[in-house]
Amino acid sequence: MPFELFVALRFLREGRAQTALILAGTTVGVAVIIFLSALITGLQTTLVDLTLSSQAHVVLKRPDRVTRVEPPPGGEAVVARVEKVPEREKSIEQWPAVLAQVRATAGVVAATPTAAGSAFATRGELSRSVALRGLDPLTFDSVVRLDDKMVAGRFHVEGTEAVIGTVLARDLGLEVGDKLRLTTAQDRGDVFTVSGIFDVGNRDVNQRWVLVSLRQAQTLLDLSGGITTIEAKVADVFGAEATARVLGAATGLSADSWMRLNQQLLSGLQAQSSSSAMIQTFVVIAVALGIASVLGVSVIQKRGEIGILKATGTSTGTIKRIFLIQGAIVGLVGSSAGGLIGAGLSAFFAHAVKNPYGDSLFPVALSPGLFLGASAVALATGLASAWWPARHAARLDPATVIRHG
């Protein structure tokens, strides 16, 4: 065993109470960091998943306002014409070509054509205003997964089948197999059979969405084979806005990412992340101060011994390393123990605290990277906080120390 390690271990072992204190401090610090990170990451992942469960990453549609900008003669942009596009003209021109172009764009994983518009759903005396969405049964699945959100029946929209949300089903008293009539503003209507009922965890969607086949929607909305929107899934969820910009520029359509549509959620997540980062920074600082002060006291207590070590041929560098190693050991042992406790705490909360549906209210995300990161931070903190005491110890003058006993 290297001499430095031998002496460092012995100093730690013999300074029982002090060692226990800094180890406890480091352990608690690392546990807090692990638990907090796991919790925040877990919550954010769940929130984002929830948001994206019923939403495509990027939605392309024809701009509903056309703004033509003439080349400015005097450097000033002139808005030449602003007009509302009539309902009928909302369809995307030459959409099969545009769809192919979207699918070929880098970062896009899948894309599906949809036709959307407003309609009335009626059953007997009851009637509700709904958002009619026509889906391509073959490709919609690859962009938004709804089949795992079905609470009754199944996700199936062939022929005159319709899939509705739980709230609409309750409002209209509908069950799987029941009939409902859909009428559009274009004064077209048809009777559909409820094939499935979904719950996406969003009241508005559960209340307003009525999903039918693309073909039926095209007929009801009088689009004559046209579509109103192209919905796309991207590889990097948080790169959706960038991809949306690329798609918008390439197709001339208005492209909205889920990020733009959920800016409040995103800024909430950001605020959460930065306050968590701030808490973790303060925890690291507190742990560092703890290690530094305990090692600092230990250097003062061990002045005489340091003097003896020097008088018997121990070099300045070796003395310094003896104390640096103590900091490193505290950091490593503390991060291992803290990692275990943090993981245990996370697992406990994830399993113990659940909502009435059995979903965890504390979804936690524990990753090997988190543990590695926390260990690296703890090791660096241990070394950095041992730096000053180590330097002080190395500089002690043996003659003075020995003289004063």
């Binding site: 031998f6 012995r10 041929g313 070099s315 020995i402 006993g405």
Partner: protein, 245 residues
């Protein structure tokens, strides 16, 4: 193992030579001169007592010889090596190799066993622990009469026992010179006599050179040579007829 090169086989000339040693403490107004030009040569295997009133500079002189401190002026030549030419790490290495210390307040590391305390200088020099070190340290502790207490923690030993461990530690690196600053100062008369006898025995058997600071005239009388320091100057340096041996 602890035995240095036999005195007879060693090159001629003193093992330790001091030339015009001056030591000042403090600076400016507060400056005090602890040593005013000390010249001294100590031969191989000599057992010298350093006596003098309190504050006369004995500890200062020992610290300079032991390379714990640097002189303001003058030279310390240890085993033919001018130590003024060494950097700090060089001094540390030379100190570990050539000098053994026994201090008044035994100064062992309390959290280490007797054996480990004796091994410390060896580990410091080699950078790690090796099995032969324990063997060598055990033999040294046997020589100072502590063969039974190898694994007892230093702070659980009596004062006399601790000082014996310190002697064994001083011998660990087979040094040219052992410097002892009032080694019996904290011991009762019986322990002091026993320790002194031990130092003398090591000196005679192994030919190690000793420079021992003492206040006790009885002990000084048992040395080969007596050097007296007053106000930082050597005022007398005389051989002493050994009694007993």
């Amino acid at each position: 193992m602890a035995e240095p090169a036999a005195a007879a086989a060693a090159p001629a000339g003193p093992v330790l030579r001091l030339e015009g040693l001056v030591k000042d403490y403090g600076g400016g107004e507060a400056r005090t001169r602890a040593l005013h030009g000390v010249d001294l040569a100590v031969g191989r295997g000599e057992f010298t007592a350093l006596i003098g009133p309190s504050g006369s500079g004995k500890s200062t002189l020992l610290n300079l010889i032991g390379l714990l401190d640097r002189p303001t002026a003058g030279r310390v030549v240890l085993d033919g090596q001018d130590t003024g030419l060494l950097d700090d790490d060089g001094l540390t290495r030379c100190r570990g190799r050539a000098v053994g210390f026994v201090f008044q307040f035994h100064h062992l590391l309390p959290e280490f066993s007797a054996l480990e305390n004796v091994m410390l200088p060896m580990m410091a020099a080699r950078g790690r622990q090796t099995p032969d070190m324990a063997e060598c340290a055990g033999a040294l502790l046997g020589q100072v009469g502590l063969g039974e207490l190898l694994h007892r923690r230093a702070n659980l030993l009596s004062g006399g026992q601790q000082q014996r461990v310190a002697v064994a530690r001083a011998l660990a690196m087979a040094p040219r010179v052992v410097l002892a600053d009032e080694p019996t100062g904290n011991l009762d008369t019986r322990s002091a006599d026993a320790l002194f006898a031990l130092l003398r025995q090591v000196n005679v058997r192994a030919g190690v050179t000793f420079l021992v600071v003492t206040h006790d005239p009885r002990l000084a009388a048992r040395c080969d040579r007596i050097v007296e320091l007053v106000d930082g100057r050597v005022v007398s340096d005389r051989p002493n007829r050994r009694e007993g041996s």
